[in-house]
Assembly symmetry: C2
Homo-oligomer: 300 residues x 2
């Protein structure tokens, strides 16, 4: 297994700090009415999370020589979509979970109705952030970014993946069916994180966009395979969310479909495939490579 | 009370038909996977509703000499936001309602998790629609429209209004407090419907935008006052949704704050105020005037 070098840890810690500040600024201040809703939105977004999606946006932005400020704004928009999806996913009518990022979930800390509105308002905020005048000199690119994120979040992306996931409880899925589910559920927004990062910088040609998209698809799936492995192997304290839940809820996973060893092999193969796709970028893709390694070697 | 002339009924019926077709096209086809989610999204949006918000968008578009096709797309985006808010508002953790537009609510016809995802996906679709290349020649205007709708839907608009509404159950609100709640809950999206319609056409100067905005604020409040009157006076069959619900849920309304007669007077005053604001537009504001009359005289 690859190891994650120290300079990457320093880079990602710095970026995580900047992303946190940007989210702090973009979220409504807690003293603005309605104060309970704003407190709950901040609770759901701030002070937790690996921020993998905005880190991918930043890494892709570096590849396209984008200004850091722009990639932080685009990355924050993606993270707001991700945070909203976690709040809604944890609701009693969905996964009914009580622990997230080591804290009580939003509906446990506040209440169900507030958590519903938190998710709704975070989604609106994500699109408001993409309409930020600081994001781009070219409004046509901003519109393209809006379209990318809206499609990734919607019924043919993340929300659709959740619907497929709901229908799969208790079912046995083949590996291609699992892949179809995860390409929607997790893959679409990870892919959008990378596509937005690229569009913060210089225009890339179609071949280069294709390379990044292939990397995105592989890394999105690898992320989910590793999630399934961690859910099966790790404990709740390490994960900061309820471990062993997929098996208890009778959800099909890569571990249930392939077994633990083969799932780990699949993650390693997806990493290799991802790396090959971005090989032609050379040093410009350093951070993307390191993130791919982080995604497959992470322990939480 | 003013009466609504026949030519307005013909105009609004034609527009309603066009809006319905546009929504049909913009919603994912029912045979596209995930089919249950797409069926539920179509159930929640199509075949019902007065379409008042997109009619306001069309009327404002006419005032600004906009192409009809553009106002229909912008109006459809606003209607998708409205439809998502109804689906989430009817959920058991919110108003827990079983009847909407004369049909079982989305979570009754499908299930709670699906209804949650329907609302989420409809919101994403609204922003995807605003990124439609047919909406404008000027992507900067499209970005402005995205910002307007995102702010109107978010925590300082509609979602915030819902949070204030939740907190108000069982409380006695003053008329200014009621106004604050409704400016957020219903007013923000009605105002956005008008602001988007204007931006589909020729650029108006700041004074004209101000006039339309004043009209929007008055008509948004009048809409809510009339809603409260109808909830108190009408029956479930006429409304197509559960009547008398506000009182039973101990929600503050204009009727509970002012009494029925004074609430009706307030609606009439708001109509007058709205009409004065757009008086300088002359004939160009014909449809806006007729819509204002429809909003205060409607019986459902």
């Amino acid at each position: 297994m690859p190891t994650v070098p120290n300079d990457f840890l320093a880079w990602s810690r710095e970026r995580q700090g900047l992303i946190e500040s940007r989210l702090q600024e973009l979220l409504p201040a807690p003293e603005i009415a309605p104060v309970r809703l704003h407190a709950a939105m901040r609770y759901a977004v701030l002070g937790g999370g690996k921020r993998i999606r905005p880190l991918l946006t930043c890494a892709c932005g570096e590849l396209a020589q984008a200004a850091l400020e722009r990639t932080l704004i685009a990355g924050a928009a993606v993270e707001l979509i991700h945070a909203y999806s976690l709040v809604h996913d944890d609701l009693p009518c969905m996964d009914d979970d009580v622990l997230r990022r080591g804290k009580p979930t939003c509906h446990v800390e506040f209440d169900e109705a507030t958590a519903l509105l938190v998710g709704d308002a975070l989604q609106s905020l994500a699109f408001q952030v993409l309409a930020d005048y600081r994001l781009s000199d070219d409004p046509a690119v901003q519109i393209e970014m809006t379209r990318i994120l809206a499609v990734a979040a919607g019924s043919r992306g993340m929300a659709g993946g959740q619907a497929i996931d709901l229908a799969a409880v208790g079912a046995t899925l083949s590996v291609p069916e699992l892949e179809f589910m995860h390409i929607h559920k997790t893959g679409a927004v990870i892919r959008a994180a990378l596509q937005l990062g690229v569009r913060c910088g210089r225009r890339l040609d179609a071949d280069d966009l294709q390379r990044i998209d292939h990397f995105a698809k592989c890394i999105g799936l690898a992320f989910q395979v590793v999630d399934d492995v961690l859910d099966a192997e790790s404990d709740t304290a390490t994960l900061g969310k309820t471990a062993g839940k997929d098996a208890r809820m009778d959800k099909p996973t890569y571990v249930s479909a392939l077994g633990l060893a083969a799932a780990k092999t699949l993650a390693a193969e997806l990493r290799e495939d991802a790396m090959s796709a971005i090989e032609p970028f050379g040093k410009r893709a350093l951070r993307l490579r390191q993130l791919a390694d982080f995604i497959v070697t992470r322990e939480f």
